[in-house]
């Protein structure tokens, strides 16, 4: 399953809920304001690092670049472009966009 989170971890609890429910082996893609969770020193870093032991975590590079934080990405998070986004969605049986 692919989980997609597009909200800042400071504004909403979408990522927190996603990490609580996502089963091991799932994929997580951070997009839009969700990419702030992929940066070093953010409030969700510890919980995201814990989750990376059981989830594969991706972030959308254009959204990181647009926000000026592409150089601050936590090690182990894989960056994808829009083509990679499509590949992720097509490569999983289902997906959930956490509002």
């Amino acid at each position: 399953m692919l989980h997609i989170v597009n909200k800042s971890p400071y504004e909403r609890n979408a990522l927190e809920a996603c990490l609580r429910l996502a089963r091991p082996g799932s994929a997580l893609l951070l997009i839009e304001d969700g990419v702030y969770a992929a940066t070093r020193g953010n409030v969700a870093e510890a919980s995201l690092r814990d989750a990376m032991a059981r989830l594969k975590v991706y972030a959308l590079r254009p959204d990181l670049e647009a926000r000026g934080v592409a150089a601050r990405v936590i090690d182990g998070i894989e960056l994808v472009d829009y083509g990679g986004f499509v590949d992720l969605a097509c490569g999983q049986p289902n997906c959930q966009s956490w509002l």
Binding site: A17, L21, N94, C95
Partner: protein, 132 residues
């Protein structure tokens, strides 16, 4: 076609497993009401529908909602009517309920309580997951 797809008896249409994930409280935003509308529409298409209530979504099911004072439609009775549309799978995340000081008897409809992990498993087994 996935293994979960089945043919229905009449038209040969595909029945998919739909889960609607409700994570918002009822009146502050339009999400809960819109979600309920979509659930009722989906029932008309004879799909395998379930509802999950997570985070503030559990507030949608609290007994005793009185909306006269805010001049908004009290749509909470509609959850009790879902059974009439053959929507009987209502799942509530136990952790979300407990975190808000609520218990099963505070809810206006029969639900199945599940842990976050159990609900996550169920979510992963759906054909389509739609969040509100």
């Amino acid at each position: 076609m996935s293994e979960a797809d089945q043919q229905d008896e009449e038209g040969g249409g595909v029945v998919k497993k739909f889960m609607f994930v409700n994570r918002k409280a009822p009146y502050g935003t339009i999400y809960a009401l819109e979600g309920l509308e979509v659930v009722l529409i989906s029932a008309a298409f004879d799909q395998d529908v379930s509802l999950a209530f997570v985070d503030d979504g559990v507030y949608q099911l609290v007994k005793g909602q009185q909306t006269k004072g805010i001049e908004a439609k009290n749509f909470s009775p509609a959850y009790r009517a879902l059974e009439g549309y053959d929507i009987e799978k209502l799942y509530v995340e136990r952790e979300a309920l407990e975190a808000r000081g609520l218990a099963e008897e505070d809810l206006l409809v029969d639900v199945q309580l599940m842990s976050s992990a159990e609900l996550g498993e169920l979510m992963a087994a759906q054909d389509v997951v739609i969040g509100f």
